[in-house]
């Protein structure tokens, strides 16, 4: 037994390098900054995975909730003076509440209508940001804000933010894994696979659909607030509808409904997105082709297809071993 569990944890050994990455990359502060963005997008994609990957509800409103988190935290900090570290949490809870309220009427909609309502929601949020009452959001010009401070230490440097973000990411990813392995997570999966059957088993499907939206709202809002205080400046383009598709691409590429899919997908697509920044005219083409490729040929994402491949190799080895004996 001991041997098996040792082996099980052995594969996570390379992950131990992550905390040392900023030290290794100390000379390249741009790369450290990218790592900070990776953390933020991993958190958001993790939340999206709970909603889309596990409870099967597609959403085009991720950028909207990201915006609620970002603007929520910035505005609360600006007008009440509450320390940033708390406003991030408050904004995430606010985003969660808005998601719950939004989800209640939405949970009865299915398929195309669900996508329509989330697209409309994203537009409404975008319009509110760009044409806010009294211009409190700075409209199209954006708004500047403070960095995170904790016990008098400011996480202004990307290196220090990285460790703060890493702690948040680990906590949130582990929490998600616990949630998915609980009763609630199993209910999500049951609803995704067959809503009527789930209902027959006594699962109140609307309740769980609303729950999933709440979790999603919290994660995405949290990520949005982190984003605002990492960059120190937010403007509406980050929260436009096309950004919502970027999150969906991250979830698809990593693999829907898996523990590590959002982590892998968020990392890869964010790095790709940054590299594509130099070839702006091909950005949309690459995303379009990437989406189609993953939908048609690799529906399980990198995680799912990787597992299939490993299983194939293993079974082949077993067959070989049997033949030899």
């Amino acid at each position: 037994m001991g041997k098996v569990s040792n082996k099980k944890y052995l594969k996570y050994l390379p992950l131990l390098i992550i905390p040392f990455l900023p030290l290794i990359l100390a000379k390249y502060s741009y790369l450290v900054m990218l790592l900070c963005f990776v953390e933020i997008y991993v958190i958001a994609t993790t939340g999206l995975d709970v909603l889309y990957g596990y409870s099967g509800q597609i959403t085009f409103a991720t950028a909207g909730f990201f915006g609620i988190g970002a603007y929520g935290s910035v505005l609360i900090h600006k007008y009440t003076g509450i320390p940033v570290i708390l406003t991030i949490l408050i904004a995430a809870i606010l985003s969660c509440l808005i998601a719950l309220i939004f989800a209640y009427p939405v949970s009865k909609l299915r398929f195309a209508f669900l996508s329509l309502s989330t697209i409309s929601f994203n537009y409404v949020i975008y319009q509110l940001i760009t044409r806010s009452p009294g211009g409190i959001t700075g409209d199209f010009n954006g708004i500047f804000t403070d960095r995170i401070t904790l016990f008098g230490i400011s996480f202004k440097e990307f290196q220090s933010f990285f460790y703060f973000g890493l702690v948040c990411t680990i906590i949130l990813v582990v929490l998600k894994i616990f949630l998915i392995n609980s009763r609630v997570g199993r209910a999500f999966l049951a609803i995704k696979q067959n809503q009527h059957a789930a209902e027959g088993m006594g699962i109140d499907y609307r309740k769980y659909k609303v729950y999933a939206f709440g979790v999603y709202g919290f994660y995405v809002g949290f990520a949005g607030a982190l984003y605002a205080h990492l960059v120190g400046f937010i403007s509406p383009e980050t929260f436009a509808e096309t950004q919502s598709v970027l999150f969906l691409i991250m979830a698809m590429v990593g693999g829907l409904g898996s523990n590590w899919g959002p982590v892998i997908g968020g990392t890869i697509v964010l790095l790709l997105n940054d590299a594509l920044g130099y070839f702006q005219q091909f950005q949309l083409l690459v995303y379009g082709i990437l989406l189609i490729l993953f939908i048609v040929f690799m529906p399980g994402g990198i995680i799912g297809e990787g597992r299939k491949l490993i299983a194939k190799i293993k079974s082949k080895k077993e067959v070989d071993a049997n033949v030899e004996s």
């Binding site: 889309y52 099967g56 509800q57 597609i58 009427p105 939405v106 009865k108 909609l109 398929f111 195309a112 209508f113 669900l114 996508s115 329509l116 309502s117 697209i119 409309s120 929601f121 537009y123 409404v124 319009q127 509110l128 044409r131 509808e241 096309t242 598709v245 969906l248 698809m252 005219q281 091909f282 950005q283 949309l284 083409l285 995303y287 379009g288 082709i289 990437l290 989406l291 189609i292 939908i295 048609v296 529906p299």
Partner: protein, 290 residues
């Protein structure tokens, strides 16, 4: 003021309605929404520009050629993109995502072929303006409204009277039963897609002289088109046009009487409200079956 706003509402509404018509048709045929509809409209606009302004063809052949090309594009799209995905996976959400991918690919191809700068299409009518009730209008504006109404009736009659139309409706209602009656469901689905892209392309030509053709117009039109389809009653031909007028009136009257900054917000908030309260739209698809 009122007449002006009403006219601009009618004009915008007919364009939204034409896009919404495409959404409804595809929803009827495949049960999904095609988020690339607005970009297909832009393709129509660009093709119209190419035939009319670059090749200097007369207007009628330009329009016919554009419609023929968008028809073919619709067939290709259905056969080589949508159908393989349909075969692979059963979840609608994935297919909707695939249409977003299609919209991205169309947009980048448009940039490669026609460039990113907006194109101004010259007016294609001999009398560019007409005066009604003391207000001057572009003739294309009136033409667009007429085209939208004609398309609505034509498609409705086509669906109701012609054999192909009947087959299309049957295939949409129950593919298995339709197949057992000898209907070629694959073919009818393809024709439906082709017709809806043709309608979008037609809208594109009409938009050209009025607003000019830009790539970004596509995304905005996709959104407005689906909004009108939802408001009117998703899957209903008359509903799509009606919804188009509802959305455009909301936009232009709130811009005129409240504030132009709020017009988008009001339009989308209304869509959300209708989805929450009456997801079947104003014309209930059940009660107005054609």
């Amino acid at each position: 003021m009122f007449i002006n706003l009403l006219m601009s509402a009618l004009l915008l509404g007919s364009i939204y309605g034409l896009i919404g018509l495409g959404y409804s048709l595809i929803y009827r045929a495949s049960g999904i929404m095609n988020l690339a509809q607005g970009d297909l409209m832009c393709v129509g606009g660009f093709l119209g520009y190419t035939f009319y302004s670059i090749y200097k063809l007369p207007i009628i052949p330009s329009i016919l050629l554009t419609m023929a090309s968008t028809f073919v594009i619709g067939c290709i799209l259905e056969k080589f993109v949508i159908r393989p995905i349909f075969r692979k996976s059963t979840t609608t959400s994935v297919i909707i995502l695939a249409t977003v991918a299609v919209s991205y690919i169309i947009q980048s191809l448009e940039i490669v072929i026609w460039g990113a700068a907006p194109l101004a299409v010259p007016s294609f009518l001999k009398t560019p303006t007409v005066k009604i009730f003391g207000v001057i209008y572009q003739t294309e504006q009136l033409l667009t409204i007429a085209v939208a109404l004609i398309c609505m009736f034509a498609i409705h009659i086509f669906m109701k009277v012609s054999n192909t139309g009947k087959a299309m409706r049957a295939a949409a209602m129950d593919p298995v039963a339709a197949r057992s009656c000898g209907i070629n469901v694959d073919k009818t689905t393809r024709i439906t897609w082709a017709i809806s892209t043709t309608v979008a392309g037609l809208a594109g030509i009409m938009v050209g002289p009025i607003y000019g053709v830009t790539i970004t117009l596509g995304t905005a039109m996709s959104a407005k088109g689906f909004a009108s389809a939802v408001v009117g009653g998703y899957g209903d031909m008359y509903g799509a046009i009606l919804g188009g007028f509802v959305i455009s009136s909301l936009e232009s009257f709130s811009a005129g009487y409240i504030s132009s900054a709020l017009k988008q917000l009001i339009a989308y908030a209304t869509v959300l409200f209708i989805l929450f309260v009456k997801p079947r739209g104003l014309l209930n698809a059940e009660s107005v079956k054609d």
